[in-house]
């Protein structure tokens, strides 16, 4: 076998939570790894690395996307929001984050960032979901701790909090 040479690294800019970061990454570096390991934004979690569990869900121009299915080099033209960017400018948790706390919608917390980003975007699209709508909103994310009961409640509570603002 031939000697493997050091990989080519690409200079890219990632705009994450309103801040522009410059970094040099190989083309194959996953966005999830770039966020976590290069930028230290470890709130985005990796549960399966094949796009099924939803733990790594981030917002790409406001829409949910799986960071484990994207290469960092392809994310340069987008506005990325991670769980660290959901709170208000004063650091206060957003309605979804508050609702998860109120409803005991998390236990170990590992899947939680993916739910928070998904629901934050979901409620922007559908601010007053029906009960079925609330269940559908989280139907692409896996949680092994909660049995989803309190997560569904949290979605509905977040909608209430948002509408009473």
């Amino acid at each position: 076998m031939n000697e493997i040479r050091r990989e080519t690294r690409h200079e890219i800019r990632l705009r994450v939570n309103g801040v522009t970061h410059e970094l040099r990454v190989p083309a194959r570096r996953l966005l999830s790894d770039a966020l976590r390991h290069d930028l230290g934004l470890t709130g985005t979690h990796v549960g399966c690395e094949h796009g099924v569990c939803g733990a790594c869900t981030i917002l790409l121009d406001g829409e949910p996307a799986r960071a484990c299915l994207m290469l960092a080099v392809t994310a340069t033209a987008h506005e990325i929001t991670t769980v660290e960017g959901l709170a208000g400018p004063d650091g206060e948790p957003n309605a979804v984050q508050r609702a998860f706390a109120e409803c005991h919608g998390l236990q170990c917390g590992f899947c939680t960032p993916g739910f928070l980003t998904t629901v934050t975007a979901g409620l922007r699209r559908d601010p007053r979901p029906t009960h079925e709508g609330a269940r559908d909103m989280i139907a692409g994310n896996l949680c092994r701790c909660t049995g989803y009961q309190n997560i569904v409640r949290a979605v509905e509570r977040a909608a209430e909090l948002e509408s009473s603002r």
Binding site: R5, T42, H50, F100, C111, N141, L142, R144, G147
Partner: protein
């Protein structure tokens, strides 16, 4: 007066961190600015289920730019070259076998670790793994219990019949009692494998701290003290030079109690050799093929009973698939064999099991730990008796219950902890009453008729369980009041989502008389509490909760002694409210923070508060500054070590609908009655039940480990292993609590962590049987399984 927090649904203190993305899990350690310099590991794993290793060629590996080291078995020395420990030896485990940290000569399941590569990032480490060339002599694989029992081929050449252990326990003469009984039945039952599948897999980070001359290791484990002892022993280090920190853990459910994993040893070994921090984070496929599974059993039950359905004799044999190795001993089948009895008196009882080797991933406790299988055997038997006699299934169960006046009830068996299987308390008739109301058991016949008129098929089932929780040997706690009045609490067991920081702070706030917000709890850090066992067997609340209560009491007693001196009052007249010790009926008081200052006589003052504690400020000049029998500091340390486990219990009922055409199975209603003694935090307990039921539904209807005959796991991804999303879990799980306190601990609590999962396969099988009119004897069951059964019963 401070409101008592025990029993209150106090909001979790851990949530804010998690919700803001500030949790710290093991793969988050040494990232970002701390990341550069950290090396990453990848493992070459066996592609074969059974093979001899003829040669390993690693010559191309170090050519990969950025690769720092590659290790195979030949590079291991001393204790590292010995097999991994049998953690829980049992005399019946006559043929215990464990793997090596890296395979030596032979591999026994797909996924077994063969080589360990350390590189500058995980991508490069995986590139390097791909360049390792192994020459295998592939051997025939033993997959499944039928193949293991047939023993045409052996997993280990020196284990005849593939039998690792055979254990039998008897109370009375069950075969004779069954032979003499008015009625007899026999059942053959089967449960397939599933797995814990925490959202976060295993992971370990280690750094040799040259400045402090010690090893610091972070692991996503359920036992930091266990990992610490194992790493020290294997690497030949003094235990006092090893610190193990368990950061936030993304779920465990049992799998992370196994230790040391090969990587938990190889990471610190490499970190020390390379003088660099090393990190290993497994990916999902690795978790499927190289961590652990559970549940697989085949069972044969014989039972004799009277006209009322009362058990006269019960004779159970079962075969337990423990996979390729037995690091965790016989815990799972021993639990099945003893907890199978549930809330019932079996009459004479004989149980025997064989724990069998197969060329598959190891089997170690998964939430429930053998109880779901035992519950399935017992509850299917109860239903069979009821069907045979044409009696109501709830009534047949009630006839067999241990009555409330019969506690403590000694079954005459030895439990998983080597102690007597003696139930401490319970009220099973009261639980059954609550369950019948919650699911409307008596109203179901009318509901069924109404559904039938619409062409719908529905069925109802119930299942009961008893769960030994809070097994020993012990847990400890340290409570320290700082001079600010803040209370720092440490207990050694670990946390994987159970809300310990909240529940334990509730206990301290109540006992010490301080504000909940002033209490901070640390778990799983050997620097803070080096004596601990771990988090498993629904033991954390019982064991650490009790230890923390006792340590808080000691702290309180010391505070009162100090305050009695300071306030010139007698201890009996003092009370502590919101962190202030006062003399009842007066305005004389002193804050705990001040007492903390006074408890530590100082030579040097460094701020205003500490001036009050210098030798020239306090104390009797004739007496020693630290009184005889006292220690400096306002703190307390204590341990809790009960004689045996405390037994929680519960009952589930479910109504299912089965589609006449597609055989789809839909849960219409799910009801849980749960008795874990006094509740610390009902919100947390209900969350545990929700999660347990959801895992149970996964195990009953969706999850199975699909091995082919060559030992390849065909569904080793979340695309193919059907873990439930919200769409698979019913919309409401109705829960009612009964609180029968345990007499064995100061708070009267019993464990709650595993309860939700235990009876789910049994209760769903019961409801499907009821809907379809034929027995369900194997779980999980898919629509196509049900369709096949329909065809068979039609024929």
């Amino acid at each position: 007066m401070t409101t008592r927090l025990m029993g209150q649904p106090v909001a979790r203190v851990e949530d804010r961190r998690f919700l803001l993305g500030e949790g710290r899990y093991v793969d988050d350690v040494l990232t970002g600015p701390d990341g550069p310099g950290t090396l990453h590991a990848a493992v070459l794993r066996s592609p074969h289920a059974h093979a001899r290793i003829l040669d390993i060629d690693v010559s191309g590996v170090l050519d990969v730019d950025g690769v720092h080291a590659v290790y195979t078995y030949d590079d291991l020395t001393g204790p590292m070259a010995e097999p991994l420990p049998v953690l829980i030896p049992h005399p019946a485990l006559t043929h215990g076998r464990t793997q090596y940290a890296l395979a030596r000569d032979e591999v026994n399941h797909v996924g077994e670790a063969i080589a360990f590569v350390v590189a500058e990032d995980r991508y490069l480490a995986e590139d390097a793994v791909d360049r390792i060339v192994v020459d295998y002599e592939v051997l025939p694989a033993v997959v499944g219990l039928d193949a293991a029992r047939a023993a045409d081929r052996l997993v280990h050449d020196d284990v005849p019949g593939n039998v690792g252990a055979r254990l039998e326990q008897t109370v009375g003469d069950a075969p004779a009692a069954i032979a003499a009984a008015p009625h007899r039945l026999a059942l053959d039952l089967e449960i397939e494998r599933s797995a814990c599948m925490p959202m976060e897999g295993r992971g370990t980070v280690a750094r040799w701290d040259r400045d402090a001359d010690r090893l610091v290791l972070w692991s996503s484990t359920q036992t930091s003290t266990g990992v610490r002892a194992a790493v020290a022993a294997k690497l030949g280090l003094d235990i006092g030079r090893v610190d193990v920190i368990t950061p936030d853990v993304g779920g465990g459910f049992g799998v992370k109690i196994v230790h040391p994993w090969p990587e938990e040893l190889l990471v610190p070994m490499a970190a020390r050799a390379l003088d660099r921090a090393v990190k290993f984070t497994e990916d999902r496929r690795e978790h499927f093929v190289s961590s652990a599974h559970e549940r697989g059993q085949t069972q044969h039950v014989e039972v004799g009973f009277d006209d009322d359905g009362r058990l006269l004799g019960l004779d159970v044999e079962f075969w337990h698939d423990h996979g390729a190795y037995t690091p965790y001993g016989l815990i799972v089948p021993i639990i099945t064999s003893t907890q199978l009895l549930g809330p019932y008196k079996p009459g004479a009882y004989r149980v025997a099991f064989e724990s069998m080797y197969t060329n598959t991933v190891i089997v170690t406790p998964y939430r429930g730990a053998g109880r779901p299988q035992g519950c399935f055997a017992m509850e299917r038997t109860m239903d069979a008796i009821a069907a045979y006699l044409g009696r109501d299934r709830a009534e047949v169960r009630a006839v067999n219950f241990i009555r409330p006046d019969e506690f403590p009830y000694d079954h005459g068996l030895v439990f998983q902890d080597g102690r007597a299987l003696e139930y401490d308390s319970g009220d099973y008739p009261a639980s059954l009453d609550k369950l019948r109301k919650l699911i409307d058991w008596d109203g179901f016949a009318a509901f069924r008729r109404a559904c039938a008129e619409q062409g719908r098929t529905v069925g109802i089932g119930l299942a009961c369980y008893v769960e030994g929780t809070g097994v020993g040997p012990y847990e400890g706690a340290h409570v320290h009041v700082e001079t600010t009045g803040k209370v720092k609490v440490a207990t050694g067991l670990t946390t994987q989502g159970q809300s310990h920081a909240t529940a334990f702070a509730q206990i301290v706030a109540d006992e010490l008389g301080v504000r909940f917000d002033d209490v901070e709890v640390v778990t799983g850090d050997t620097r803070r509490m080096p004596y601990a066992v771990g988090t498993f067997a629904s033991r954390a609340a019982v064991m650490s909760g009790s230890a923390i209560h006792k340590a808080a009491r000691r702290t309180r007693e010391k505070a009162l002694r100090l305050a009695a001196d300071a306030l010139e009052a007698s201890v009996e007249d003092l009370e502590i409210v919101d962190g202030i010790v006062g003399v009842r009926g007066t305005d004389r008081s002193v804050p705990l923070g001040t007492l903390s200052v006074l408890s530590n006589p100082l030579r040097y003052a460094f701020d205003e508060a500490s001036q009050a504690a210098t030798q020239f400020s306090v104390g009797d000049a004739e007496a020693p500054p630290v009184a005889e029998g006292e220690e400096p500091g306002l703190e307390g340390r204590d341990f809790y070590s009960p004689v045996h486990a405390t037994f929680a219990s519960g009952m589930h009922a479910v109504i299912v609908e089965t589609d006449p055409e597609t055989a789809e199975i839909r849960i219409l209603r799910y009801a849980v009655v749960h008795d874990c003694g006094h509740l610390i935090n009902p919100m947390v307990v209900e969350g545990q039940i929700h999660g347990g039921v959801a895992q149970g539904i996964g195990g009953a209807l969706y999850e199975r480990m699909a091995y082919d005959d060559s030992g390849q796991l065909l569904n080793a991804s979340f695309m193919d292993f059907l873990m439930p999303y919200v769409s698979e879990i019913p919309d409401a799980i109705d829960i009612d609590h009964l609180e029968t306190p345990s007499p064995l601990n100061p708070l009267g609590i019993k464990g709650a962590g595993e309860a939700g999962v235990i009876p789910v396969s049994a209760v769903i099988a019961a409801a499907i049987s009821d809907a379809e009119g034929f027995p369900i004897t194997a779980m999980p069951i898919s629509p196509s399984d049900l369709h096949t059964l329909r065809e068979e019963h039609r024929a």
